[in-house]
């Protein structure tokens, strides 16, 4: 367990991810594997198929964005990977242990301070009491929120909440970080700032990210690979590799060029629905 590991070796405390989980992921060669995953909602007879035959690998350390129109099943897909729901068909493997999930709303616990929210995740992971405080402060520093430890959730701004939520997700020390439109409700400047934070954190750790958005530019700005989902039922329509070197900016010409191409494809997908 992570506790014993970090208790014996102070150097390991800075990067206390359970070694065996990392090994398992490396052996598997993927951080998550979805194989023919389908999901339907509703009673038998009046079923609505939301996802159909999704097969997708996320490589260790890879940053993948999932793109699709509203209601195409992106959140459902993340919930399946996070084991909050179970697939109707197909299999999902996450060899690195329980993934961290950052919800569209911050989902912080309002009865705890920012720091305590993070510490609860640490505690659930099994980090010893003596180390929690320090580790929480380190994570807050990582998202540049030094000094927010004792703040109540309602005392924080929207952007700060999202950053605390990011810190809490990182506190889980999962191999896989699932993010469901985490920045959708923010103004453009705050979002840019958080994009930079996220890219930096991702580059500094070896976490894999599966990031959902319906914002094409955001997808291109962040990802190594963009996966486009079609709607009703959700299937994988197309994929793009993004070879633009980081650090990128959302207004970069190359980001714009690829975004235009992807948007065109997305429009095509949506138009296809109008035809039947």
């Amino acid at each position: 367990m992570p506790t014993t590991l970090s208790a014996q070796d102070p150097a390991a405390a800075a990067q206390p991810r359970a070694a065996h989980q990392q090994d398992r992921q490396r052996q598997a060669g993927y951080a998550a594997r979805l194989d023919g995953v389908s999901k339907s909602f509703g009673r038998p007879g009046a079923q609505q198929q939301v996802l159909d035959g999704i097969s997708l690998d996320v490589a260790p350390g890879e940053f993948v964005t999932l793109l699709g129109a509203s209601g195409c099943g992106k959140s459902t897909l993340l919930n399946l990977v996070a084991d909050l729901e179970s697939p109707t068909d197909g299999t999902i493997e996450v060899p690195g242990g329980r993934p961290a999930l950052m919800f569209q709303e911050h989902a912080l616990f309002p009865w705890l301070t920012a720091g305590r929210n993070i510490e609860l995740a640490l505690r659930m992971r099994g980090v010893a009491k003596a180390e929690r405080r320090q580790e929480a402060e380190r994570l807050l520093e990582l998202v540049r929120l030094t000094g927010a430890y004792g703040k109540r959730v309602h005392e924080l701004s929207g952007g700060m909440r999202q950053r605390v939520a990011l810190a809490r997700a990182l506190a889980q020390d999962s191999q896989l970080l699932l993010m469901d439109e985490p920045f959708a409700a923010l103004d453009a400047i705050t979002r840019d700032v958080l994009h930079e934070e996220l890219t930096r954190v991702w580059a500094e750790t070896d976490v894999s990210v599966l990031f959902v958005t319906h914002n094409v530019r955001e997808a291109v700005r962040l990802a190594e690979r963009v996966v486009l989902l079609s709607s009703r039922p959700g299937r994988i329509a197309r994929e793009w590799r993004v070879d633009i070197p980081q650090p990128r900016r959302i207004e970069d010409a190359e980001v714009s060029r690829l975004s235009v191409e992807i948007t065109e494809e997305l429009r095509g997908e949506i138009r296809r629905h109008g035809q039947h």
Binding site: R98, F103, F109, P110, W111, E155, Q172
Partner: protein, 312 residues
């Protein structure tokens, strides 16, 4: 915040962009400045209201109301609407209480009732909490006893007194049984309501960070349900106190000692109206006092911590 970024030695910041060290450092500084600005713009601060204003807004209105009631009472007495053995003046009631005070028994009487009420309430708490959790979280249990539990809340607990006397005789058990039957349903129902009002998002977030099973109950479910739970507690105390008075009033016996209910009954037996009114006042004062000193601050604290109070 910016200093940690700029003081970092160049070799540790090996960037994919190669030689763009200086530019990147500027970027980091700019980013930090931008963030500080955004945070400053967005952060809410709450100033505490000064004491004088709190007193004026919170303490003055009830004080005025009390004075008004006393004045009405005194004038009714002065007009002799009723003979004074039926309607004594405020001063006569005060004298009756003072007499009890000089006899040296009154504190014992109040303590007798308060300690019973508190003990009964604590036992009710211990019984009602797991019961409420079961009803809230286990479908079968909810279907089985949920309706009964909320029905019990509207049954005046004085109705249990005859039954309790037949079961337990004129003993403390009778009194505690009545208190429990009064308080347990409201505490349990409060907890059920609290759990029902939890945002599903918080439960999912709890599951994601690994707070499942009993750890989930302790770290997510109970704290999330706390606002409903606390109002259940508040109501539970009111019910405990009410049931206790009903029980004490009916179940009088030398072995049971003298509580406020028995004091009231004594007053009735001796046709001593000032004592009766004095006892009623004491019962009211204890009920209000505990509510104001214990439950109101508790509730306010819970709500303020969650930012639910400022909106009012």
């Amino acid at each position: 915040m910016a200093s940690t970024e700029t003081e970092r030695p160049p070799e540790s910041g090996a960037s994919p962009a190669g030689g763009a060290q200086g530019a990147e450092r500027d970027d980091a500084a700019e980013l930090a400045g931008l963030e500080a600005g955004l945070d400053a713009l967005d952060t809410r601060t709450q100033a505490r209201t000064p004491l004088a204003r709190t007193l004026r807004e919170k303490a003055l209105p009830p004080a005025v109301a009390v004075v008004l009631v006393l004045a009405l009472w005194q004038s009714a007495f002065a007009l002799e609407l009723k003979p004074d053995y039926q309607l004594p003046s405020p001063l006569m009631v005060w004298d009756a209480l003072a007499e009890e005070w000089y006899k040296g028994t009154i504190l014992g009487v109040v303590w007798q009732s308060v300690s019973r009420g508190a003990l009964g309430f604590l036992v009710a708490l211990v019984v009602a909490t797991p019961l409420g959790l079961l009803v809230a979280r286990v479908k079968v249990v909810r279907a089985a006893i949920g309706p009964v539990l909320s029905g019990l809340q509207s049954l005046p607990s004085v109705a249990w007194v005859p039954a309790a006397i037949i079961w337990f005789g004129l003993t403390d058990a009778t009194i505690y049984a009545v208190v429990l039957l009064g308080a347990v349903p409201s505490i349990a129902n409060g907890l059920v309501a609290g759990v029902d009002r939890i945002q599903p998002l918080h439960l999912r977030a709890g599951k994601v960070i690994g707070a499942t099973g009993l750890r989930g109950v302790r770290h997510v479910l109970l704290p999330a349900a706390l606002p409903g739970y606390v109002s259940g507690l508040k109501q539970g105390w009111a019910f405990s106190w009410r049931s206790l008075m009903a029980a004490e009033l009916i179940a009088t016996s030398p072995e049971l000692g003298v509580g406020l209910g028995q004091l009231l009954e004594t007053g009735r037996v001796y046709q001593d109206m000032p004592l009766v009114l004095g006892a009623i006042l004491l019962i009211l004062l204890v009920g209000i006092g505990i509510e104001l000193l214990l439950f109101a601050p508790l509730e306010r604290r819970v709500l303020r911590n969650r930012g639910l109070l400022a909106a009012r």
